[in-house]
């Protein structure tokens, strides 16, 4: 390949011709000298001297005939390849180091680009805006009168001044049960106004997308499939268009399939089916109404459940559009509060006056939950991977320097033979570029593997499905740029060292860099970055430990939670009540099961609802009287292992009169009553006609919302299956809860064909899931920190070893003159003290900077906590001691006579 290029760009056999021509010149000149009376050999010598550097003339002549730099580059490349083939260990180490550094950076860049910078895959994404409104301060519940309700959307879609189109969407909260030819599956669904794809500018991959008539009340329900779901569940069969799919026990016609590139309007949230907004009441239950049953979402003006997006008209700013939209939102709010009597409005501070509309660019899917939650983690990861790359570069530069010292003679020789210094530098840059590109290529391969793996660790499979991590030209450009930068950094360091080489010294082999100052500088840098990295890793480890150490307030071991799917919501109340009763009995009868209960939220996943309460004698602000509400079945305290501070657990008999008793947590008791001695006291849910509720028990605070979120006042009310249909069973086993998974599944699925399992997990696994980011950071920190320490050890060892070899004679002389072995060992060790000391001081400074950058991901430990830095320093010193031991020992064991004869 290389040879082919050189043939194209240089006439064949040029070099021998020039040599022959010059040889002729020398011969002729020598003849003259012989004629003048000089002896032959003297004549030849003089003739050669007259000509000067043949090498140089050759280069000049070659210059005439070839495209010089290209020919040189080809030659350099060939030379570089030959050099590396002669030292494979060095080359492989260097390439792998670079591949690691570049690989992790490329992988992270791919994720960052997808999560933080990628536009939505629609036409002119920069025109898309999210429209939000705020009711202003002083209104309970934040949004107050500014409801994103369906009537508000209807008004907005009639009057959207400043926007060329506007659409509304909302997820189907608990998913849908899809049945197709007898196969049952829980899928995700999104409700969207029928014009969504017109506004976005997205066309179908098969069939058609939503049309206006689909949205009308009473229209036949239709569904559009996402490309991923179509491939997954229907194997991409076009014949499914026109067939019907059963969603939550209703026939829905499949009308079309979305294109592959469209992954939803919110990054990280992909939905299997898109349903017209007009069918919302079929698939998304409204709040319970007083008449029993549920209220219509479409008809209700005070249910805010939609998100609005639109396409901006050219030339309008976000603020201009917001100003134009404000009257529309005010009108909606006024219509909504109109039926409320004036005095009540005043009392509740219900007003449309303060409504502000917020319009912001949506091209990057700003509403994305994935982006919001991943952003801080990604920032921290960036810090880590940049450190890894810096360490890799410092290490590589050190390796190159050591190699350059070994090749000192070669460089000197080439300089002496008349090679230009610039040529030599270019050679060195070519060598480092070659390595960097091989390393970069490997890094790219490496990134293909660690990118998705890392992303899965940071989120889960759904997150991965929502983004595209395949490399594109941006990723390639990024990797190439990184490789070039790495090559330049490494190359510059080596060139600095080599260009000071004196050809004569090199040839005479004296004074070969007794103090390789640059090597030491690289080691200092490497140690500094390593301390920074290991220090952060220590902080992450401590954070993970702190989370694990939290008292969650219940017993997470041997506990399994099983959340039932929407099937339970679609059956009549009596059937649901029966199901829950039978399921509880049968689960409790399984061998190995100690206790069973149920609630409307899996423990540790959240508090479903916050309600205002009225507590007699509560001294705080009326607006602050809010408490979490969880509906719990009999044996709740016992089964979950909550600590009962006073009173009783729920018993089956409480069901006879639901709504009259409650168990509250410690926070509730002390917040509202100022004491935990509250059994027998009463309170009421705020609202007309609500009966007083008697407190029957007090439990210690539990992390109902997961370990990462603080506890809050919570009231546990008896589960009333005639109203609440979101059911999660909790099963406590004797031991080995995982082995109960299959029996539990079979028991629950056999009871009623209409009801299935949505999610089943042990609480331990769920906790691990919540801490997956912390684990990821700790794991990466430990792995990379460990690697960095090993690299430092190798670097120190290499430096000292070279030094001992170089100073063998000196050591011999000292020993011959009576120096003690300890003195010799000290002399060797002293060399690295300065290096380690400088590296550690810089590293501690770096650690303090990095710790502040990663602060958002820490828990229970201050970024300034000295133990992390101390741990890193201690680890490094231990590693340094090990690395120093062998060369120092070798020096002390030298036989003075052998050492002296070494010269």
């Amino acid at each position: 390949m290389v040879r082919l290029f050189s043939r194209i760009f240089r006439p064949r056999g040029l070099d021998p011709q020039i040599e022959k021509e010059l040889q002729f010149h020398v011969d002729e000149q020598a003849d003259r000298y012989v004629e003048a009376g000089l002896p032959r050999d003297e004549a030849v010598r003089r003739a050669r001297a007259d000509v000067g550097s043949i090498q140089h003339i050759k280069e000049e002549v070659r210059d005439v005939w070839t495209w010089r730099w290209f020919a040189d580059a080809v030659q350099d490349l060939r030379f570089a390849l030959r050099t590396y083939f002669r030292m494979p260990v060095f080359a492989v180490t260097a390439v792998l180091t670079l591949a690691l550094g570049i690989g992790v950076n490329t992988a992270l860049f791919t994720i960052v680009r997808q999560v933080l910078f990628k536009s939505l895959p629609v036409s002119n994404p920069e025109e898309l805006v999210e429209i939000d409104c705020n009711a202003g301060p002083g209104v309970t519940g934040g949004r107050g009168t500014c409801m994103h309700s369906y009537p508000a959307f209807r008004l907005l879609s009639e009057r959207h001044d400043g926007l060329s189109g506007v659409f509304a969407f909302a997820p189907v909260p608990n998913g849908l049960i899809a049945s197709f030819h007898g196969r049952r599956e829980l899928i995700t669904g999104q409700l969207a106004s029928a014009n969504i794809f017109d506004v976005l500018g997205v066309g179908p991959a098969a069939g058609r997308l939503l049309l206006g008539p689909d949205d009308r009340a009473g229209a036949e329900p239709v569904a559009v499939l996402s490309y991923g779901y179509w491939r997954r569940a229907f194997a991409g069969d076009r014949a499914v268009v026109g067939q019907s799919l059963i969603l939550d026990n209703r026939d829905v016609a499949i009308v079309g399939v979305l294109p592959r590139t469209f992954r939803g309007v919110t990054l990280g949230e992909v939905y299997d089916v898109i349903l017209p907004l007009g069918t919302a009441d079929l698939f998304r239950a409204g709040p319970p109404s007083r008449s029993g049953g549920t209220a219509s979402l479409l008809g209700s003006a005070n249910m805010g459940w939609l998100a609005f997006m639109g396409r901006r008209q050219r030339g309008l700013s976000d603020e201009q559009i917001a100003t134009r939209l404000e009257p529309v939102f005010k009108q909606s709010a006024e219509a909504m509060i109109a039926p409320v009597p004036l005095d009540v409005r005043k009392h509740l501070n219900l007003t449309a006056e303060n409504i502000r509309v917020d319009v912001r660019r949506a091209a990057f899917g700003g509403a994305s939950n994935l982006r919001r939650t991943l952003q801080p983690t990604l920032r921290v990861l960036m810090v880590i991977v940049v450190l890894v790359l810096l360490i890799a570069c410092a290490n590589l530069a050190g390796l190159f320097l050591a190699q350059a010292l070994n090749r000192h003679r070669e460089f000197g020789l080439r300089l002496a033979l008349g090679a230009g210094r610039s040529r030599l530098m270019r050679q060195l840059f070519t060598e480092s570029l070659l390595l960097a590109f091989i390393g970069g290529g490997l890094g790219l391969v490496f990134a293909q593997w660690i990118g998705p793996a890392g992303f899965t660790l940071a989120t889960d499979d759904t997150g991965l499905r929502a983004v595209n991590l395949e490399p594109d030209r941006w990723i390639l450009a990024f990797t190439a740029a990184l490789s070039v930068v790495a090559a330049l950094v490494v190359g510059t360091v080596v060139v600095l060292r080599v260009s000071s080489a004196n050809p004569q010294d090199a040839l005479r082999n004296v004074g070969v860099a007794a103090s390789p100052r640059l090597t030491k500088a690289m080691l200092v840098a490497q140690i500094a970055f390593t301390i920074t990295l290991v220090g952060s890793a220590a902080l992450f480890l401590e954070t993970l430990t702190n989370f694990r150490r939290i008292d969650v307030g219940f017993q997470p071991k041997e506990l399994m939670t099983i959340t039932m799917d929407a099937g339970l919501r679609s059956v009549e109340a009596s059937r649901a009540i029966e199901y829950i009763r039978h399921a509880t009995e049968r689960l409790a009868a399984l061998p190995g099961v100690r206790a069973v209960t149920y609630s409307n939220a899996a423990m540790g996943t959240g508090v479903p609802m916050n309600l205002m309460v009225d507590v007699p004698g509560f001294a705080g602000a009326r607006d602050s009287a809010s408490s979490g509400e969880i509906f719990a079945g009999p044996g709740f305290v016992r089964t979950l292992g909550l600590t009962l501070l006073a009173g009783n657990d729920f018993e089956a008999t409480d069901r006879a009169n639901p709504g009259s008793v409650a168990i509250v947590n410690e926070s509730f008791a002390s917040f509202f009553f100022g004491t935990i001695d509250v059994v027998g006291r009463t309170f009421a849910l705020r609202g007309p006609g609500n009966q007083p509720i008697r407190i029957d028990g007090v439990v210690k605070d539990a992390r109902d919302r997961g370990v990462k979120r603080p506890t809050q006042p919570v009231m546990y009310l008896p589960f009333d299956a005639s109203k609440v249909r979101t059911v999660t069973f909790a099963v406590r086993g004797e031991n080995a809860i995982s082995s109960l998974r299959e029996p539990i599944r079979r028991t629950l699925e056999r009871l009623d064909p209409a009801v299935g399992i949505a999610r089943m997990t042990t609480v331990d696994a769920q906790f691990d899931d919540v801490l997956r980011r912390e684990r990821l950071l700790a794991a990466l920190g430990v792995v990379f920190g460990g690697l960095a320490l090993v690299l430092v050890a190798i670097g120190l060892y290499g430096m000292l070893n070279t030094m001992v070899v170089k100073r063998t004679t000196e050591i011999g002389v000292r020993m011959a003159l009576g120096a003690a072995r300890t003195q010799i060992a000290w002399m060797i060790a002293r060399e690295i003290f300065v290096v380690v000391f400088l590296g550690v001081s810089l590293g501690v400074t770096g650690h303090m900077v990095a710790a502040r950058l990663v602060q958002s991901q820490l828990f229970g430990i201050e970024p300034s906590d000295p133990t992390a830095a101390a741990g890193a320093v201690f680890g490094l010193i231990a590693v340094a001691a090990v690395a120093v031991w062998a060369p120092a020992r070798r020096a002390t064991l030298l036989d003075p006579m052998t050492a002296l004869r070494n010269e």
Binding site: F24, H25, G52, I57, E60, V64, G418
Partner: protein
Amino acid sequence: MTRYATTSSSPKSDLLQGTLDLLILHVVALVPLHGYAIGQRIQQISKRTLQVQQGSLYPALHRLEKRGLLRAEWQTSETGREAKFYTLTKAGRKQLELERTNWERLAAGISLILQSAE
């Protein structure tokens, strides 16, 4: 003694390079010559005033060959060795005339200036 385009790494000025080219073309115009003879001839004709460094001569020869002003052939020399002989081409002859005129104009101009300064 005048030295043309001396050390190896110093860049050559256009004037000197052009002058050397002119001298080479002139010397070769009479009879085909090899590189060594060209150098010798320039020294002889200039009565040893001009000495040509090999470091400039050979690149200059190759440059002229590449521009098609000289043609090169391997022949046996008078000493019986294989030598590369350079011959003036048609284009070379034209170039020689052109450069000779230029040089004379330039030389005349320079001497005018030098005389008037006296």
